[in-house]
């Protein structure tokens, strides 16, 4: 089946290769080295205290993954949108409620209000700290087409759901959920958050990073390892496919909605007719009733599409962009390392200092690559699960829809006392000439 999933031939191979590599590495690394890998580089540990719940090795990270499902110790909900009006602007805040038993949290329960900007900040910090981890996308900042009103109820609800998913995905992530910024996001009062936001690398240094990043992009990476080249290909194909899936699904939703609108007029047309008849009142009203009930079912079907399948697919369209950015950042890290390495060959002076820098960059690159590899297979699993579930759910909903409609029509047939049972539904309806022949034979 072509349209639904990314071509298995492309997706299976690299994933298997990566996991094989990873498991090989897992067996070789021992505890002490791991500890050093994580504490050496401040960007990975966020300068925070090392705590017990933080995974210390890729091995334990994978285990954590499996445990997470059963021993979830943090529950986050995003709800209760409220509108705020100030002199300068109008914006919406959402309530973020956290319930947790994790030891790094002082309390078991936190309730804060956050606005979209705050979520954007969090995402930025997480990406800064873990450039090659795959952070679940945020809902779009601006609405491109269709909606005029930014504070339209549907829009707010869709955004709320997406924000809820965003935070929960981070909470589920073995590394990201340990982020200090994440904790502050969940727990700090408004003024605390504002002051925390002001800390961190200043504007100028961030500018410097950006300039360097751009420079590296222009230069390009020279020896991209095969596995990442494969991932890049996969991502490109995935992006195409998910975009077209998204588009088709939106089209289907639109057509279903238009069908529903016409269907709403159909039942009443039969009811109208029944007003002129005597003998036919019952069957006409019966048919009208059936159509009206099927109409309700169709409405539910449309709602499911709009609230479940479309957002699920759209999320992964955004994910594709995230993946591309992650791969770009990984490339940049490698490019940085390669540049420095080249400088080593040219410059005569300060070789020691350079060598140290290069070593640091090499570590950085290796960490980045490893992190990406693990997160990649994690993401793939998650993506497959999500897309598969979304479609299975939709298929189930549709089977349910048809079964309900079937029951409606069958009960109508029963009420008409026709001897026809479900079996005869396979027969072709009688052509009028046969009907007339029977009629005339009955008449004589």
């Amino acid at each position: 089946m072509s349209g639904i999933t990314v071509d298995p031939a492309v997706s299976c191979a690299p994933a298997q290769e990566i996991s094989a590599d990873l498991s090989g590495q897992m067996l070789e690394l021992d505890e002490d080295d791991d500890l050093e890998v994580f504490s050496k580089d401040s960007t990975l540990s966020d300068g925070s205290l090392f705590n017990a719940s933080m995974p210390t090795s890729p091995a334990s990270m994978v285990n954590q993954l499996e445990e997470d499902v059963d021993t979830k110790d943090i529950f986050i909900t995003v709800d209760n949108p409220e509108s705020h009006v100030t002199a300068i602007e109008t914006f919406i805040t959402y309530r973020v409620l956290t319930k947790t038993t994790r030891s790094e949290f002082d309390l078991c329960e936190y309730e804060v209000r956050r606005r979209y900007q705050d979520f954007l900040w969090l995402k930025g910090k997480l990406e800064e700290a873990h450039p090659t981890l795959i952070v679940h996308p945020l809902p779009e900042k601006f609405v491109m087409k269709g909606m005029v009103e930014r504070f339209n109820d549907d829009f707010i609800e869709t955004r709320r759901k997406a924000l809820h998913k965003f935070l929960n995905r981070i909470a589920d992530h073995p590394i990201l959920s340990c982020s200090e910024d994440f904790k502050i996001f969940l727990t700090a009062q408004a003024w605390e958050l504002t002051s925390h936001k002001k800390q961190g690398p200043g504007f100028l240094s961030r500018m410097g990073d950006t300039v360097r990043a751009v420079a590296n992009t222009v230069r390009g990476v020279k020896n991209r390892p095969e596995e990442f080249a494969t991932i890049q290909e996969y991502v490109d194909t995935f992006a195409q496919k998910i975009t077209s899936l998204d588009r088709v699904t939106q089209r289907i939703l639109k057509e279903q909605k238009e069908y529903l609108e016409e269907l709403k007029e159909y039942g009443p047309a039969y009811t109208l007719w029944s007003g002129s008849e005597e003998e036919l009142v019952e069957p006409l009203k019966g048919v009208a009733g059936c159509i009206d009930r099927c109409c309700k079912e169709t409405e539910e079907q449309v709602n499911h599409l709009a609230e479940s399948l479309v957002p699920a697919l759209h999320e992964y369209v955004l994910c594709a962009e995230t993946l591309k950015a992650v791969l770009r950042r990984r490339d940049n890290i490698q490019a940085e390392y390669e540049t420095k390495n080249e400088t080593l060959a040219n410059k005569k002076a300060d070789r020691e200092a350079l060598k140290e820098e290069i070593e640091k960059l090499e570590d950085k690159m290796e960490c980045a690559n490893n992190a990406l590899k693990v997160d990649w297979s994690r993401w793939q699993r998650s993506m497959r699960e999500d897309v598969k579930t979304a479609f299975i759910h939709t298929a189930e909903k549709n089977v349910d829809y048809y079964e309900k409609c079937l029951a409606v029509w069958e009960s109508f047939l029963l009420s008409q006392g026709s001897g026809l049972d479900a079996e005869s539904s396979r027969e072709q309806p009688q052509a009028p000439e046969e009907m007339t022949k029977e009629v005339s034979l009955q008449a004589t």
Binding site: M1, S2, G3, I4, T5, L245, V248, R251, I252, E255, Q256, E258, Y259, E262, L263, E265, A269, Y270, L272, W273, G275, S276, E279, L280, P283, G286, V287, C290, V387, K388, I392, A395, E396, N398, V399, Y402, E403, C405, L406, W409, E410, F412, L413, Q416, L420, A422, S425, R426, Q428, P429, Q430, A431, P432, E433, T436, K437, V439, S440, A443, T444
Partner: protein, 383 residues
């Protein structure tokens, strides 16, 4: 209950077997393409006895069917004459073509024409008609025979009929109700057909878009089956939409007859009144005669007697006419009412069956849907 004349359909198998395109010169000598339909007839006894004789067959085009129907309308005005399938495709939704030459349209028309012939052949009165029999059996010369009956002269002018509608003084309550019913039937079935066409259009759109997902969702071949059944259902509704017009025609005819009767009665009454006035010399109502008499003097006794004579003759004629018209009216009402009852029963039966078949069709659609999506779910699970 044995109906007279239903014999024809009992004796003979009738079908419209095929349709073919022909080229020919029309009445204004211009080359045109038209479709002809093959009518086949076979005695039922022969088939029942195990013989398989070749059927008699001839070709007829749509305009000949129209001519036949017009003849029947004029000749049997008290009958609700079965309608022909539509001349042009109406209530079309975008997938269907409105082209008369479109093979699907031609096919549906073939079915409709067969249905028409069968309905006529099973009607107690219509099936006895010689022209109808001739239509089925003799290809050449039929048109001439029809024209020879002079039926066209008997056709009521539209204007006269319209006139009657507004001037009938004592309409038959039953016919008034029937007239209202036929108007309502026409309106509700039109509305239903319109909405149905839009719904079918949208549904087709939904199925088509699903095809973009991939092979799993290609409802493909089953869509065409579903849509064909839908059109068949629409044709059944259309038949009764057109029947409403036939019903209206009978009501119109009744009004006309009633009006003519009333006019004859009025005429007679006024003549009788004139006679009285002339005989007694009193002028009860204003008349020019009275005026001129006053102005120009009385008539002579001779003149008066001459006039009375004329009037007497006219009154006798008038009484005959009234008697004739009354009988005509009563016959018409009696026959029309019998046919109404027959039609009503037929309509209730046919439409109830159509609705039931519609439900069966929907059940079929649901079952297909369940199949497609259960299959899809399996595919997804294997992902």
């Amino acid at each position: 209950m044995v109906e007279e004349g239903a014999h024809l359909v009992k004796k003979m198998e009738i079908c419209v077997a095929e349709a073919e395109k022909r080229m020919g010169k029309n009445s204004v000598n211009i080359q045109e393409t038209y479709t002809v339909y093959l009518i086949e007839t076979r005695p039922i006894d022969a088939v029942a006895e195990g013989q398989n004789p070749a059927p008699d067959s001839l070709w007829r085009r749509y305009s000949e069917f129209e001519l036949l129907r017009n003849y029947l309308l004029v000749t049997y005005p008290f009958v609700v004459v079965p309608p022909l399938p539509e001349k042009r495709a109406e209530f079309v939704w975008h997938k269907l073509s409105a082209d008369n030459m479109d093979p699907d349209f031609v096919e549906r028309r073939r079915v409709g024409l067969e249905n028409f012939l069968l309905r006529v052949a099973s009607h107690s009165v219509l099936s006895n008609d010689k022209i109808f029999y001739h239509f089925l059996k003799e290809e050449s010369g039929w048109k001439e025979v029809v024209f020879e009956t002079g039926f066209q002269a008997k056709a009521d002018s539209r204007l006269r009929a319209l006139n009657a509608t507004f001037r009938v003084k004592t309409p038959d309550k039953r016919f008034t109700e029937l007239k209202h019913y036929s108007d309502e039937l026409q309106s509700v079935t039109s509305q239903l057909l319109r909405v149905r066409a839009r719904v079918a259009d949208r549904l087709y759109g939904v199925y088509k878009v699903h095809g973009n997902y991939g092979r799993v969702f290609r409802y493909a071949s089953s869509i065409d089956d579903i849509l064909e059944e839908e059109e068949h259902y629409a044709d059944q509704l259309k038949e009764y939409l057109f029947y409403a017009e036939a019903l209206r025609a009978v009501c119109r005819k009744h009004e006309l007859m009633q009006y003519e009767l009333e006019t004859a009665v009025l005429d007679l009454t006024s003549k009788k009144q004139q006679r009285e006035e002339l005989a007694t010399g009193t002028v009860r109502t204003f008349s020019f005669k009275g005026m001129t008499t006053k102005l120009f003097g009385q008539e002579t006794q001779e003149q008066r007697e001459a006039k009375l004579q004329v009037l007497e003759e006219q009154i006798i004629e008038g009484e005959e006419l009234v008697k004739e018209k009354t009988v005509e009216c009563e016959e018409f009402v009696k026959n029309a009412w019998v046919d109404m009852e027959r039609f009503k029963e037929q309509k209730d039966r046919d439409l109830k069956e159509a609705l039931i078949n519609y439900a069966i069709m929907q059940i079929g659609v649901c079952k297909k849907g369940i199949q497609v999506w259960a299959n899809a779910k399996e595919c997804f699970s294997k992902m």
